[in-house]
Each structure stands twice: as structure tokens, then as C-alpha cells.
């Protein structure tokens, strides 16, 4: 079995999550080759074949050219699986490649399962095992689902170039919003989920965060509702965090959120539903009404 892994390069840097592709291939027990539109100054620590195109000439993301490069490498490598990260890059590019090759695509794979791939469905309440029909398939893997594997070595470079005009015209980036907090460095994070009920209750969670000496985090629905700034969002569309202590308040535990915080050393979930998926990765579960429990805990901590 052979995989072609599509590495990722963003704003002049090789992304560390590229190594998760190697973790996936390792679990699959597959041979690997990698393709990267990046730079010779930022090579992955990987001793296999690397198809390298220069981002300075192809663009960090030019869908038509990148697709062409991948199809070129597919022809040379004849892989069973073409594997992307489920990022905005993979999200946009993988289905283009699948359509061009006329093969199936499996999106946001979480794990391997007897001959197939596990994916989440129904807001992560359920999982499905999906199998591609015989032959080739395109796969995207969820961030954080597979361990990063850094084999070391110097890649055997195969340089690719692509020319042609782009259908899409890239006009520019809009500056990222200012971050008032860097959760990636926080040692303690206390996060608010939909279970807090309304915007007014954010201050209650904030108070607990302060009492514990930590930062405020939030799940996606809370950010989407405009209750908390996006810079506080934890999850695959927010930040991936690894604090010593993570307290999830009223968070049911959508897969995207879990992927963003499961590396925390110690996880406490405070939730009224003892069967919520967050309980699966929490070390300690408190089944309680947030409105009663959180202020009581904050008051007790203040006295300590």
C-alpha cells in the first residue's frame, strides 16, 4: 500500500501538522511519498521521496497549479491514498483532486477501523466507519487525530514546476484580528460552552478562570453567538491548546473542540449531562448545574 502525503506550508513556514500525515501513514502501515509546495529552506525532517515545488513561484495557494502538481505526482507514484490535512487548504484542494481523479473522498478521518476509516457524524455524537470501493481514494485527516511522527533524515528531492494561468485571482490577505490572549501558552484554561445559556454568564466563567489563575477559553457555538471573542476559541477552527489544566464548563464536546484541547494534562468537565462526549476525555466529571456549581467553586477558591 502506498500513500502520497500532501504537506502544508503557510506564511513561509512548514506546518508541524505535516508530521501527522506521517503518523497516519504509519498506522496504515503504508509506504510514503510526500508533496510540498514550499521552500527548500524549510524541508521536513523525513528521508523519503519529496516532490517539492516552490511556493514563491506557484503561490502558497493557487488551487489550479497545486492540483496540477499533485496529479503529476500521483501519476509518478501511483498511490492508493492521497492524504491531506483537514485544514482550509485540504478542505479546498482535496475535493478538486478527487474530482479530477474521479475517485472517492473520505473527509476528516479520526481513526482507522477494520479495513475502513472512522469519521464523525451528527455533531460528533456518532461515528461512522466508511469504506472506499476498491481502488484509489482521497483522504483528509482531522487535526490532532493522529500522532505526529518525525522520522528524521533528508528528503530525496524531486523538483516539480507548474505553469499556467490561474482561474482564481488572489488579491490579498486581510490582517488577522488582534489577539488579546494567547491560549497556546496558557497553563490553565477555563472554557465556556453553549451550556452557559447566555452572554451574561460569560462573566461567571471568567471569574472562575481568574480564581484559578487561568485564561478564558470558549467553544465554537459561544464564539459564533458573539458572546466571546474568536481569539478565545479552542478547537480545530480556533486554537489547539495544551495547558496543564483545562476546565470545560457546559461544553458537550464536539469532535472539533475535543481535537483542540485533548492534549491538556488534566481535564475537568462540568456539565449537567453525564453522557456528553466531553466525559470521554475528561479525567474528572462534575455533573452539576453550572449556575450553582461554578459560583460556589469560585467563592471557595477565593477563600483558599
Amino acid at each position: 500500500m502506498k500513500t502520497l502525503l500532501i504537506g502544508e506550508y503557510r506564511e513561509g513556514k512548514l506546518l508541524d501538522s505535516t508530521y501527522e500525515l506521517l503518523g497516519f501513514a504509519g498506522q496504515l502501515g503504508a509506504e510514503t511519498a510526500m508533496l510540498l509546495v514550499g521552500s527548500e529552506t524549510q524541508l521536513p525532517s523525513y528521508g523519503g521521496t519529496l516532490y517539492l515545488a516552490d511556493a514563491a513561484s506557484c503561490g502558497e495557494y493557487n488551487p489550479d497549479l497545486h492540483k496540477k502538481l499533485i496529479l503529476d505526482a500521483v501519476q509518478k507514484e501511483n498511490p492508493d491514498y492521497i492524504v491531506f490535512l483537514h485544514s482550509s487548504y485540504g478542505w479546498d484542494l482535496a475535493p478538486r483532486v478527487a474530482a479530477a481523479l474521479r475517485v472517492a473522498q473520505l473527509s476528516e478521518v479520526i481513526a482507522l477501523a477494520d479495513g475502513g476509516f472512522e469519521v464523525g457524524c451528527c455533531n460528533a455524537k456518532m461515528r461512522r466507519t466508511v469504506k472506499p470501493a476498491a481502488g484509489r481514494a482521497v483522504v483528509t485527516i482531522q487535526a490532532g487525530a493522529f500522532p505526529a511522527l518525525q522520522p528524521g533524515g533528508i528528503p530525496l528531492l524531486q523538483k516539480l514546476s507548474a505553469a499556467g494561468t490561474a482561474a482564481l485571482e488572489f488579491i490579498g490577505y486581510e490582517a488577522a484580528e488582534k489577539k488579546d490572549v494567547d491560549l497556546g501558552k496558557a497553563e490553565i484554561i477555563v472554557s465556556a460552552g453553549r451550556g452557559i445559556g447566555k452572554k451574561d454568564n460569560v462573566s461567571m466563567i471568567q471569574a472562575l478562570a481568574k480564581a484559578l489563575g487561568g485564561e478564558l477559553g470558549a467553544s465554537r457555538p459561544v464564539v459564533d453567538a458573539g458572546w466571546v471573542e474568536h481569539s478565545h476559541q479552542v478547537g480545530t477552527t480556533g486554537q489547539t491548546v495544551s495547558p496543564k489544566l483545562y476546565v470545560a464548563c457546559g461544553i458537550s464536546g464536539a469532535i472539533q473542540h475535543l481535537a483542540g484541547m485533548k492534549k491538556a494534562d488534566f481535564i475537568i468537565a462540568i456539565n449537567k449531562d453525564k453522557d456528553a462526549p466531553i466525559g470521554e476525555i475528561a479525567d474528572v466529571l462534575v455533573v452539576a448545574d453550572l449556575m450553582q456549581f461554578v459560583p460556589a467553586l469560585t467563592a471557595k477558591l477565593a477563600k483558599q
Binding site: 451528527c122 461512522r128 482564481l168 488572489f170 466525559g279 479525567d283 452539576a288 471557595k300 477558591l301
Partner: protein, 270 residues
């Protein structure tokens, strides 16, 4: 010029429960809703209708009861709603679904040129994020995913300028029409139907196109035309964390237990 929204009727997954005995979904009594991402696609098609005078068409592939979803689209203001429904469309994965939707879009394109097709960025019941891109490549339309703002359409140059939501930043990009756009929630706030429109929608005709209209090869659609299949649906193994105390009847006592735990792990700086 047409602006099309592809909408899917899905079970409301926030209300889906799992049968603890059989470990399968309990579907009885679960209401159906428009896939939340698709409701933003529908809203944006109405916005473009109002802004540029385009004709707005809603398309849905599904069983006959998906008509309810299209009626809601009428109540919100679409000009035409079409249900793509046939037994042979059933059991389709994303590839086979995009084939049926593409055939319907092609058919509409013969009456009036299609400018923009909106799809939600993914569905909440399937989460594959492939149907929209599948339509784009099948029809040779431009593909713009993860769009959170429509900047403008230039009808003379036949281009559209949008903003895409990427990790921690936004990208502004321009693409030629026709275009397939998948949208994220930040794009807009879907409107609510007003009562007179809701009443009027009850009278509206929902066209049903089956395979006698679309004339697709039955081996390429539905279950037969699907290169992936689901072998199992299951509830993830729950290796529960330790439940401490009884936070419901004794919140204060439970705070003590929790604080002891934190002290034991040296996570409290006293």
C-alpha cells in the same frame, strides 16, 4: 441570471439521541430542519436576488417529505423551489449526490444562465464537505470554499470578489462566473419568514424532478453510483472520566472534593 441555493433536509442533530441498548440513532420524533449551513446559503441567494435582481432558485435532493424544507424556502422569498426526488437517487454518497444536483443545475442553465451556486460548507449529518466542490468540478464552475463575505459581482467582466475565512486570517480572491460557493456561518444571519409569506408558501407549487426528467444513467447515481459506503454507524466508546460528588444535590460539598483533587495534582497554587 440565476442564483441557486442547494439545501438539504437533515435530522436536528442537537436532538438526536442514542439508544443505549442497540447503540443506534433514535430517529423517531426527531424534527427535520434545513442543514444550518445551507440556511446561510439560502439567505445569501436571497441577498443577491435583492442586490442584483437575480432570480433565486432553491434545489434539494431528498425523499418526498423534503418538500417541507422547500416550502420554507418559498416562505423566505425564493422564486422557484425544485425537489430532486426518485427512488434511484437514494443511498447516494457525496459523489452521486453532486451528480444529481449538477444535472439539475445544467437543466436550469438551459433556461437562464446560472451565475452563482451556493452550498453550505458541510452538512451536520454527513460532514463530508464535498458536494459543493463536486458540483463545481463537474460543471466546470469556479470553486470558492469557506466564504464569509461576498464583496461584489462585476457583471461586465463576469467576475465575483469574495472573502474566504482561513485559519486566523482572511483571503480576498476574485473568480470568474459561473461560480460555486460554499459558505460559513459568519456570512450572514438568516431571516425569519413573515406570516403572509408563510401562508402564501402553502399554495406554491414545488416542482419535483425525478429521473425521467434528469435522465441519468442509474448505474452512476444513488447507491450504485456511490464509491464509498458506510459499513457501520456507532456511538463512540465511552471511557468515562471519574464522576466526583453529586454536583446537583450537593454543589458546595462537591466543590471541596474537586479542590482536593486539584491540590492532589498540584494544580492549585495556594
Amino acid at each position: 441570471m440565476l442564483v441557486i441555493s442547494c439545501i438539504k433536509q437533515v435530522p436536528d442533530t442537537t436532538q438526536v439521541k442514542i439508544d443505549p441498548v442497540t447503540n443506534t440513532l433514535i430517529r423517531d420524533g426527531i424534527p427535520f430542519i434545513i442543514n444550518p449551513y445551507d440556511s446561510h446559503a439560502l439567505e445569501e441567494s436571497l441577498k443577491l436576488k435583492e442586490r442584483y435582481g437575480l432570480r433565486s432558485v432553491a434545489l434539494s435532493m431528498g425523499p418526498p417529505n423534503a418538500e417541507a424544507t422547500l416550502r420554507k424556502a418559498y416562505a423566505l422569498g425564493v422564486d422557484e423551489a425544485i425537489l430532486l426526488s426518485d427512488r434511484c437517487f437514494g443511498g447516494a454518497d457525496t459523489l452521486a449526490t453532486s451528480k444529481v444536483l449538477s444535472a439539475a443545475i445544467e437543466r436550469l442553465n438551459k433556461q437562464d444562465k446560472v451565475g452563482v451556486v451556493f452550498c453550505g460548507k458541510q452538512t451536520i449529518d454527513g460532514d463530508t464537505a464535498q458536494v459543493g466542490p463536486g458540483i463545481a468540478s463537474r460543471l466546470g464552475f469556479s470553486q470558492l470554499t469557506l466564504v464569509d463575505k461576498i464583496e461584489s459581482i462585476d457583471f461586465l467582466r463576469k467576475t465575483i470578489k469574495v472573502r474566504r475565512k482561513l485559519e486566523g486570517r482572511h483571503e480576498i480572491v476574485e473568480a470568474p462566473l459561473p461560480v460555486m460557493i460554499t459558505v460559513v456561518r459568519e456570512l450572514n444571519r438568516p431571516r425569519y419568514p413573515v406570516v403572509p409569506m408563510r401562508i402564501a408558501a402553502e399554495e406554491m407549487e414545488i416542482k419535483v424532478w425525478d429521473n425521467s426528467v434528469l435522465k441519468l444513467d442509474v448505474n452512476t447515481i444513488g447507491l450504485k453510483g456511490s464509491p464509498t459506503w458506510v459499513s457501520k454507524i456507532f456511538s463512540p466508546e465511552r471511557d468515562q472520566g471519574e464522576i466526583i460528588g453529586d454536583g446537583i444535590t450537593d454543589p458546595v460539598g462537591t466543590t471541596n472534593l474537586l479542590i482536593d483533587k486539584l491540590l492532589g495534582k498540584e494544580l492549585l497554587t495556594v
